[in-house]
Each structure stands twice: as structure tokens, then as C-alpha cells.
């Protein structure tokens, strides 16, 4: 940045020191441009999160800070069951998204531009579509007279409609579709960095195609798998709309608890405490995944 400014000033026979000072003061002013957004987020993002913390350590009849809310929730069997269900559901959904996303991302790196564009378009469209609309579509698909039951009855697999809507299975199906794009994009990014000639080398040295795939491509895409899994897990465990609409109150997940205590029973301390526990679980997974990814990047396997 400073080189041509200097040369211009030299041609105008002013000192290089003054030019450097001019650049420096410009940089100072440039630095200030980040302030409005930062201040806005401090007031409108950080302070609200502080409020969340404040409500979680306050309890009626107790002076100052207390861990009573956490103690109450973490010894409540219904809460622990709900937390367990949320974690299990998120792991299952992440696994399904990985199994369907990995082959698609792999093909993406092996196909021409037209296919690539198709895959990206089909990935981005649901990613940007309203969660309410997607959940509504799954209600139509999973219902008694929906597409899946019509197909199953038409093919003679079952005589009476299978109950999918307002069940945990239905929510698993709907959530895995929602999370697939979040799994696909990091996978595609990671796999594009792998040199395809590595797999070809393995094949020409006598490995079968599937052996080359599992021994070369799969380990090298580990960073993408970890990134996609973190994203998918964190988003599933905090998903509210799809479990509420497709689950229809047939079961409870952590986000449902947060909404109920905040809006229905107006118990803000419980709502805030539940939200913080959710954040801690999600952050623990993110942190664990990131340290795993670091091991993949620097470990002996990455040679």
C-alpha cells in the first residue's frame, strides 16, 4: 500500500517520511470504521447475553448470585431426559447428514461445471429457505395422506398409513434434510483441496477404487467432516421450529423448554438457565471437534 504513494511523493519531491505519516494517519482513520458495528454488537448482542447470565444466577428470595437454578435443573429427571434426547437426536441427524453428504461432496469434486452448479443450487436453495416453509413441506410429505404414505400404500408395502407426522422419526427425517447443506458446504471445501491424483496414484499402485477412497480421500477430508459435524450438531440441538411443527408436541427438546418457560410460564430464570446449559453443551462439542480437527491437521496421519 505504501510503495506507490511514496514514489508519487518522491516525484513531487516531498520526503518519504511525510508520505509514511500520511499513510499511517489514513490507517488510523480506517481503523475507526470498525467501531460502529462493534459498538452496536456490544450493546445489542453482548449486553443481552449478559442479561441471560444475570437471570440464570438470580433466584427469588436469594440475595446475590446463586447456582440454585442450575442445581434445580441438573437434578430434575425430566430435564436430564430432555437434554439426553436433544443430544441423541442431534448426533443421529448429524450421522444421517454425513452419510448422504459425503458421497455428494465427493462426486462434486469429480464432476464437470454443470453438475457442480446443479449441486450448489440444490444445496443453497433449502439453506436459504424459511425454516417454517421447509417444516410445512415435511408436514405435507409425512402426513397420513402425504407423499410417503401414498407411495408405500401404492407399492403395497403397507395397508394402513404409517404414522410419521408428529413422531420423533418424522422430526429426524425433516431435520436431517435441514442440516444436509450445512454438512455439504464444509465437506466440499475440504475435498476440493485434495489433489485427485493422490487417489489415482493409489489405484495405479494396485489399490481398488473403494480402498483408495477409504484410505486416501476419507482421511484427507477429516477437517471437512469435523467442521460439518460441529455445525450440524450445534444447529440441530438449538433447532426450535422443526421439532415444534413436525413433532407437534409429541416430545420435548431443550429449545421447546426454553420457549415454554420464557413465553408460556414466564419463568425467565429457568429459561435463561436452560439456554446457558444449551450453549455450554454446544460449545463443548465445538471445542471438542476443533481440538480433534487440529489433531487431524498436525498428526502423523496428515503426512
Amino acid at each position: 500500500m505504501d510503495r506507490p504513494v511514496e514514489s508519487r511523493d518522491q516525484s513531487l519531491s516531498t520526503s518519504a517520511a511525510r508520505a509514511r505519516q500520511a499513510v499511517w494517519s489514513r490507517q488510523l482513520r480506517l481503523w475507526q470504521l470498525v467501531l460502529p458495528a462493534t459498538l452496536f454488537l456490544l450493546v445489542y448482542f453482548v449486553v443481552p447475553l449478559g442479561m441471560l447470565f444475570y437471570f440464570s444466577v438470580r433466584a427469588p428470595g436469594v440475595q446475590g448470585m446463586t447456582l440454585l437454578n442450575f442445581q434445580k435443573l441438573l437434578t430434575d429427571s425430566f430435564f436430564l431426559e430432555t437434554l439426553g434426547l436433544s443430544v441423541r437426536l442431534s448426533l443421529e441427524v448429524t450421522a444421517v447428514a454425513l452419510v448422504l453428504g459425503f458421497p455428494l461432496a465427493y462426486l462434486y469434486t469429480r464432476l464437470g461445471p454443470a453438475w457442480r452448479l446443479t449441486i450448489l443450487f440444490v444445496t443453497l436453495l433449502p439453506l436459504l429457505t424459511s425454516a417454517v416453509v421447509r417444516s410445512f413441506a415435511w408436514i405435507v410429505i409425512l402426513g397420513k395422506q402425504g407423499l410417503i404414505n401414498a407411495a408405500l400404500i401404492g407399492a403395497g408395502v403397507v395397508d394402513t398409513p404409517v404414522k410419521l407426522l408428529f413422531t420423533l422419526d418424522g422430526v429426524r427425517i425433516a431435520l436431517a434434510q435441514v442440516q444436509l447443506p450445512f454438512m455439504l458446504l464444509p465437506l466440499i471445501n475440504a475435498m476440493e483441496r485434495i489433489d485427485p491424483s493422490l487417489e489415482q496414484a493409489a489405484v495405479s499402485l494396485g489399490a481398488s477404487q473403494s480402498r483408495a477412497f477409504f484410505k486416501v480421500t476419507v482421511p484427507l477430508s477429516a477437517p471437512g467432516v469435523v467442521a460439518g459435524a460441529i455445525l450440524s450438531f450445534a444447529l440441530t440441538i438449538s433447532a426450535f421450529i422443526t421439532p415444534a411443527m413436525v413433532g407437534g408436541g409429541s416430545f420435548t427438546v431443550i429449545p421447546t423448554l426454553i420457549y415454554q418457560s420464557a413465553i408460556v410460564t414466564l419463568d425467565w430464570s429457568t429459561a435463561a438457565t436452560t439456554a446457558l446449559i444449551l450453549l455450554v453443551v454446544a460449545l463443548a462439542v465445538v471445542w471438542g471437534g476443533m481440538s480433534l480437527a487440529r489433531r487431524f491437521r498436525y498428526g502423523p496421519e496428515s503426512a
Binding site: 442479561m51 443453497l124 424459511s130 421450529i241
Partner: protein, 279 residues
């Protein structure tokens, strides 16, 4: 001679294995593509039903439910409100985000990486948690729930999109262009308006489009911060689907899918989808 038989069998096995491998990959990949596309396809097709209920396949084709949308006063009011909220939130986010992107890319200062992570953090926080925190904040400072409150809360969650796409475009912009403009006598403002801004426009437009659609479609933050008198379109739609399966809800959904389609096309036209996914 004796050795050639197992070798040939091995090669045949290899070819069969090769075919099985690719059939498996293609099957799973095509299943994934269909799975991704199915809900969008179904909801758009279902909205053209001529029947009284939503079914798939639709019973006859008609535009009656789209016509009914126009007659539904609540839908019109909430759609108009969502449009205002999303437009205002996007405008504020573009001003804050574009300004912030410059120092994040062009300046060197201590803690730049940390600041970048901080400005991106609203993307990671579950929006339900932010909605709850925002509600607590707003009631603590004693401000009644209103459209401006909703706009500001949407700005907080969409500003990262603008920062990210603008910063990505700026990183690709050759600094020599600016220097050329400056050395040819353009002042800082002129350089910004005539040289930098036109080059960043595709990136800014993509970020603004993503920001707009995120605000327009947002339900979880609005559920907490909209209040009973400020109903947005996603809240209306949520209620319509949960309380009575009105086919007009499918018509609204089809319109929302169309808007999303336009956003993806805009992103492709402006910067190309292969670059969008690397953001």
C-alpha cells in the same frame, strides 16, 4: 500359465468392485440431491391445488389459493410489515457491515483476528437464545416491543453476512487500483465512490440479499421480540399452519420459495455460486 488365472480373476473382481463402488456413490449422492430438493418441490406443487385441503399430489390445478392471499387482510398486513423490517434491517446492516469490512481487510492492528471472530459470533449463537436474551435486555431498559426494536435485533443477527461477503470481495480487489486512482489525482472520497465501491458491489449485493432473506424469514427472534401487536409474515404463517392447515399457507410458502430462488440467482449472477460456498 498357472498364475494368469487368479490374476485375471483379480482384475475382473477389481472391475466389479469398481462398478459397485461408483453405483453406491451415485445412488447415495442422487438420494441426497432428491432429499434436498423434495420439500421445496412438494410445497410449490401443492400450492396449486384446486381442493379444499392440502394434499399431495394436488387435486386439480388452480390459482385459487393465491387469489385468496390477496383477500386475507392479516396476511397482507404481516407481509408488508416483514418487508419493512427486512428492508430497514438490511439497510442498517449494509452501512455497519461495509464500513467494518474495510479495516478488517486493509488495516493491521492488534486483535484484528479476535475482532473478526467477535463480529461473526452472531452467526454461531442459536437465534432462539438471542431472542430470549434480547427480550430480557429490552424489558430491562424499559422499551416497549415495537418495529424499531425488532429491526435492531434483526440487524444484530444479519450484519455478519454483509461483513463476510464485503470482506471477501475486498480481499480480492487489487490495492493497485486504489493507488492508481489516488496518484491520478482522485481524493479519498472519489476513489471510494468511483473505484472501490463499484468493484465491491457484487459482494455487497450478495451479502445484502442473504441478510434480507434471513431477516424476512426469521421466526425465532421475532417470536420473542415482535410482541402481540407486531405480527410478521413468518409468525402469521406459523400460526396458520399450526392451528388450521389452510391451503393459503402453501401459497404463501410458494411465494417465499420464489423469493429465495431469486436470492440464489442474484448470488450466482453477482459473484458465482462456486465462490459463494467458499465464504
Amino acid at each position: 500359465m498357472g498364475q494368469r488365472v487368479p490374476e485375471r480373476a483379480g482384475r475382473l473382481g477389481g472391475r466389479v468392485g469398481h462398478a459397485v463402488f461408483w453405483v453406491a456413490i451415485w445412488t447415495l449422492a442422487l438420494a441426497g440431491l432428491l432429499y434436498l430438493l423434495l420439500p421445496t418441490l412438494i410445497i410449490v406443487l401443492a400450492s396449486f391445488t384446486a381442493g379444499e385441503y392440502i394434499t399431495f399430489p394436488p387435486r386439480g390445478l388452480s390459482l385459487r389459493w393465491f387469489a385468496r392471499l390477496m383477500a386475507l387482510e392479516e396476511v397482507r398486513t404481516s407481509a408488508w410489515r416483514s418487508l419493512i423490517v427486512a428492508t430497514a434491517a438490511t439497510a442498517v446492516a449494509v452501512v455497519l457491515g461495509v464500513a467494518a469490512a474495510f479495516p478488517l481487510v486493509r488495516s493491521r492492528f492488534a486483535g484484528r483476528e479476535a475482532l473478526n471472530a467477535f463480529l461473526m459470533s452472531p452467526l454461531i449463537l442459536p437465534s432462539l437464545v438471542y431472542g430470549l436474551a434480547g427480550l430480557m435486555f429490552v424489558s430491562a431498559i424499559g422499551v416497549p416491543l415495537s418495529v424499531p426494536v425488532l429491526v435492531l435485533s434483526h440487524v444484530a443477527i444479519i450484519v455478519p453476512y454483509v461483513i463476510r461477503t464485503t470482506a471477501a470481495s475486498l480481499a480480492l480487489l487489487d490495492p493497485h487500483l486504489e493507488e492508481a486512482a489516488r496518484s491520478l489525482g482522485a481524493n479519498a472520497w472519489k476513489t471510494f465512490l468511483r473505484v472501490i465501491l463499484p468493484n465491491l458491489l457484487p459482494g455487497i449485493a450478495t451479502g445484502a440479499a442473504f441478510a434480507f432473506i434471513s431477516s424476512f424469514d426469521n421466526l425465532t427472534v421475532s417470536l420473542f421480540l415482535a410482541g402481540p401487536r407486531v405480527e410478521t409474515l413468518p409468525i402469521r404463517l406459523f400460526a396458520m399452519i399450526n392451528f388450521d392447515l389452510d391451503p393459503a399457507a402453501a401459497a404463501i410458502s410458494a411465494v417465499l420459495v420464489l423469493i429465495t430462488f431469486a436470492v440464489v440467482l442474484l448470488a450466482h449472477w453477482a459473484v458465482g455460486l462456486t465462490r459463494v460456498v467458499r465464504l
